[in-house]
Amino acid sequence: MEILVCVKRVPDTAENEIEVGPAGADIKRSDLVYSVNEWDNYAVEEALQIREKVGGSVTVVTVGDADSEEVLRREMAMGADTGVLLSDQAFKNSDGLGIAKILQGEVLKGKYDLVMTGALADDGAGQVGGMLAALLDYPYASLVNMIEVQDGKLTVGREIEGGNQEVSQIELPCVLSIQTGINEPRYVGIRGIRKVASVEIPVRGAGDLGLSPDAVGAAGARVKRVDYFVPPLGEGAEILEGSMDEQVEKLIDILKSKGGIK
């Protein structure tokens, strides 16, 4: 099975203190460390496991600048066969639809049976997977947490409200957005990345993908971010003060008084 996994480089929320930047429409980016978006990592692991079972290949693709190459290398160190970087000045400040169009260009260049994305990104809106499927006119399943490969189709499990599970069959080719917890992604260390350090990663721009520069990037964006702010303290929110023990005491009192614990 030929699988394409779309990944994204994001600031690692576990290892950064995110602050809103002075302009207000972005976060402070100096001092940040980046990693591959957690959901995407699960998608790549799932793709690798499918490849181990039924054969084929796994390609990872990302839309970004030259720095984004590092997440491609990390996923290739996990075992992805090929990495493709979609990079062009014209792609800058694309909205979700723009990103989906760029990815569509790459999907159409290859012969992929299965396209996977993470269900959402740490800094995203969870929209690209669905849009990409619509642009391609492929069937789509979101929040997938189980995949079984059958002949020409897949059985997929989806997480639905209340932790319930829904099982569907979906025809190939299709697009799936992957939920965390579907598997246990393998570890990649420095050595793994070093091994793929010299592998050539093709870079494709708007022209290679047959995209008009006006359709993507800031020019094509119909959603524009206007503000970032830390919400003001609302009613009912309380920050507990005092030593650790005092805070725990207070928390227990609150939980008791609200009926959370007895």
């Binding site: 075992g79 992604p185 050595r191």
Partner: protein, 692 residues
Amino acid sequence: MEHLLVPPAGASFLGIPAIIFSLLIPVAGVCTFVYILTRRIAPLVMAAPDPRLDNVVGRAINTVKFAVGQYRQPRYMMAGVLHIVIFAGFCVLSLRSITLVMVGVSSDFALPGMDGFLGEVYGVFKDFVATFVLAACVTAAVRRGIFKPERYAVPPALGKEHTGEAVLILGLISGLMLADMCFEGSLAAAYLQKGMEPEALVVPGTGTWFAVQFMDQMPLAKLQRIHLGAYFAHEIIFFTFLCLLPLGKHFHVITSIPNVFLSKLKKGSVKPVKWGVPEEKVLDLESLGVKKITDFTWKHILDFYTCADCGRCSDQCPANAVGRPLSPRFISVKSREHLYKSFPIWGEPKAKVDEPLIGGIFSEDEIWSCTTCGACEAECPIFIEYIDKMVDLRRGMVDDGNVPQSLQKPLGSLEKRGNPYGIMERKRADWVKEIAEQCPVRVLDPKKGDTAPTLYFVDSITSFDEQIQSIGQSAARVLTAAGIEFGILGPAESDSGHEVRRFGEESLFMELKDRNTEAILESGAQRIVTTDPHAFNALSKDYQGLPKVEHISQVILRAIQEGKLRLKPTEDSAAVYTYHDPCYLGRHNGLYAEPRSVLDAIPGLRRVEMKKSFDRSFCCGGGGLMLFYEPVEETRMGKLRVGMARSAGANVIVTACPFCKVNIEDGIKTSGLEGKMQVIDLVELVDRHLVR
């Protein structure tokens, strides 16, 4: 010489001269034995290299003390004494056995120098020894077969009890003793019946003497049959025993002396990924670590052969004690069984040889369960190594990307931020801000010429963990009070990588080591002091070319002795202190006395010892990445440790390691003993008692 009874060399069975058997049995026995040995050597040849011939003098001393002298045996008194008797008996009686084998060919054979008075003395001596050995074997067999000490039990998942093999071997040894007693006794009885003095002196109380008493009325023909029967029984048992040795756990009879000679000398260190491969080439290796059985080094395979299945390692193993799926004994036993099945006595090696060990004989959790505390290695009478094997197996898993999710996050953070918590580098020295007024700590900046003779290497937990930062702050005050000019690296410091390495992530460890080495050398410090035994061990054993590294307990003791630090009497008269030996200070670095002397320098301090202390200290639960690992276990090591301190009558546990403090603190809480028990770091305690 005339013989009252026909000797084996002169007898015949069904017309065949017995001398033929006397020649055939040894030749067949030795040939079989040599053949089996060559089969056993096959995997050693395929295994990884492991240089073990440095420091021959030190090795020889170890061999004399631990192998010949059986130094560690009495740590388990009953079994130890029995073993010493049987071992000593083996040494003494080997001469007798050789003589007996030769007597089958030449009746009057004596070893050189043994045909005169010396031989007579030996004859009496060996009678006593054989009697003791027989008594020891019977006692041991009763102990194993009837009383069944718990540490020999085999969990049902791992197969049947090993009692049968143990008792069989004890039976064979007893058989050898009895055979010789009957062989010699029958001859002596024949002489006595004729009113003559026996050739060999029979001293009352020996087994031979009892045999004589038993046989003194027997007709000569019967004595003759016993004489020859006993002789050939001895022959057959002797060579059966010899050939059985390399088939089971009694291989140790042959391998343990070389195993002790070849044992690891540098405690606390970790073997390189592959011996003979320079560090800069390590990451280019095709595969890292141990994945299949022959990836182990030849010495580690010799360890597997050598394991005597005594269970002392597992009896001391804290992971085993809390019900984690790890029993060091079965790391050896399962590996040996795997080797024996992979390299059968007959035929080609099986395909099994290349089967992955993880998911085969070992489970992932089993290998991650080890805290590398070293209790098993400190206990093993024949110096079987476990930590390096664990590390090698983990290297293999890391190389395959097979790392628990709970460890992937901290490893990622270590790579990106130099600490397992993912906190930004620039906050590494934030803990000094709180004490900036009373005790300013310099963050060294060598580029601006800001250096200090002593570098305090803080490491991650003391830098970032809010409950532990107090250790760093106390250290700063104590070092200042002792008049030591020091500084810290601050943001330029990275995690020492001690557990990164011991968890098998060699490439990340090398990265951290390079970062730290550069920062430390740049700092211009001539000495490094640390409060963290893990950092202490890493910097002194895993790093190269650094200035001298000391643990703060050494620095404090010296300052006290030189009168630079003065301590005031304890205020709390109800407090009873006990010192918990951190694994990487005690067992791995031999620092037992220094921290205790510091404690005893506090006037009026009452101190008791826990039953498990010094090199039998019980691990608190492990440091570094072990704090992030989510083990499968029934209870916590820290909790058990708190219980031990309590039974010793202590209410304050003093340790000298930040991780011990965390784990024991947890243990106190989960035992519901908050307010009744306390844990404090040695440095904090000294800080509290400083005469300023």
